[in-house]
Assembly symmetry: C2
């Protein structure tokens, strides 16, 4: 496949590891997982960057409560990432007005992704987390061609429909020779606030089945908690706002797994 | 904006109306709404086609229980749509193996969308429903340039984050001069099966606020019912499987509104 050749991959100076957080399907909570994972890793003392690679639907600034345009560095050539909650962040959402559409064809997308990788002053980072858009298109192709990805995390829900999309994501990373660190099942069950009973709204057991059929580890199952959505809307990372909740405990377990996989020694 | 000029729009012979079902954000249930709306319109006696414009994540065949490749017509130049549940359907998912990734850059996407519009033997249709992928990229640009869209329906959830994505969708259709018929709020609340209490998992009042701020009608609010996901996974339209449920009643009200807006006389 010519379009996914890997010969153009070049390191980002100062950046040790690059982790792609991906999902075939949109709306599975990928940005929520990316954000909370990045914040949680930063709380462990790592230098962490978060790049919002979803150019059409850049939700990261809203989730981190970031406002205002990023500055340009003194050479006039590089963007300075915005700082919040211990992260360095860049997003299309910081460059345009909130809600303004980015009506671009693929080549423009690819150019912007290249700028986000190589024209942002990331400084020294232990880890750059990339929050990918849904699908297997221009952004994914550009990233797998140009960025030396340490590995990929695939986020899904327990639904069968979502799992078909996971399959596509797994195949894409295998074809492009990006190591898949593991699978995260989000929205695993909902705990009713009224009666405290769990409801498997989006299905059951899908994460285990998919992990097994692709022989990749299931790194975590995050319960559906409406406060997660509330925190995302309010611009506050959930792991900070609700440190004792089951969802935060699940996210912290995931964080431990990811940091072990990135630095196995 | 050159890239969204409308001078290439041409009618699809035999097709009366074309409705785009769109959402800025993925995972809001757009394909579920498209499918059930199309089935519901067909049950009212309309000739309805359903085109799955999500090339990277084609979920419609799974939701309709469609398998097998589409046939070519006797001239050898046109695809015959697949038939199920009273609909004529075309999808990338019918042309590739389930779960195979489509690792394409934008120009290939645009070409496939053009083929789905003009190289499929749709026959006489009262309505062709287009299930759009998330975002405002190549597929959306191609469709708004080439297809004479009667109107667009925008699907969202009550969350603020989803609403920022809606804003982008609304602006895109306005810039490309596609009439917006209205907004549909999906996953409005969850009815616990244990205690029957509603939980606004994804927020409250977002649909009303957005509809008001953009001066577009809110055409429906569809509750979150885990059987909707279950039916989608099983390949059975929910409106057929659970005709007496609150979600079906909400979908039927939406169907009435849409058919009134398409044929106001």
């Amino acid at each position: 496949m010519n379009s996914t050749s890997t010969h153009d991959r070049q390191p980002i100076p100062g950046v040790k590891d690059i982790l792609a957080v991906s999902s075939g399907k949109g709306g599975v909570g990928k940005s929520t997982i990316s954000t909370n994972l990045a914040v949680s890793l930063a709380r462990k003392g790592l230098q962490v960057g978060l790049m919002d690679a979803d150019i059409y639907g850049p939700n990261i600034p809203g989730m981190l409560g970031l406002e205002g345009k990023p500055q340009i560095d003194e050479t006039g050539t590089r963007l300075l990432p915005s700082n919040a909650h211990g992260l360095k962040t860049i997003s299309m959402g910081l460059l345009i007005d909130r809600g303004a559409p980015v009506i671009w064809r693929g080549p423009m997308l690819a150019k912007m992704i290249n700028q986000f990788l190589f024209q942002v002053d990331w400084g020294d980072l232990d880890l750059l987390v990339l929050d990918l858009p849904p699908g297997t298109g221009d952004v994914q192709i550009t990233l797998t061609q140009q960025a030396p990805l340490t590995g990929a995390l695939i986020v899904t829900t327990p639904s069968n429909i979502a799992l078909a999309d996971v399959r596509r994501g797994v195949e894409m990373f295998r074809q492009t020779e990006v190591p898949i660190l593991g699978l995260v099942e989000n929205m695993s069950y909902f705990l009713c606030h009224h009666c405290q009973q769990p409801s498997p709204i989006f299905g059951e057991g899908g994460g285990e089945r998919t992990a097994k059929s692709f022989d990749i580890p299931l790194l975590g199952k995050i319960p559906l908690d409406s406060r997660l959505r509330h925190c995302a809307d309010a611009g506050t990372p959930f792991v900070n706002a609700a440190p004792d909740s089951p969802a935060t405990r699940a996210l912290e377990k995931l964080t431990d797994q990811v940091s072990r996989l990135l630095a196995p020694n």
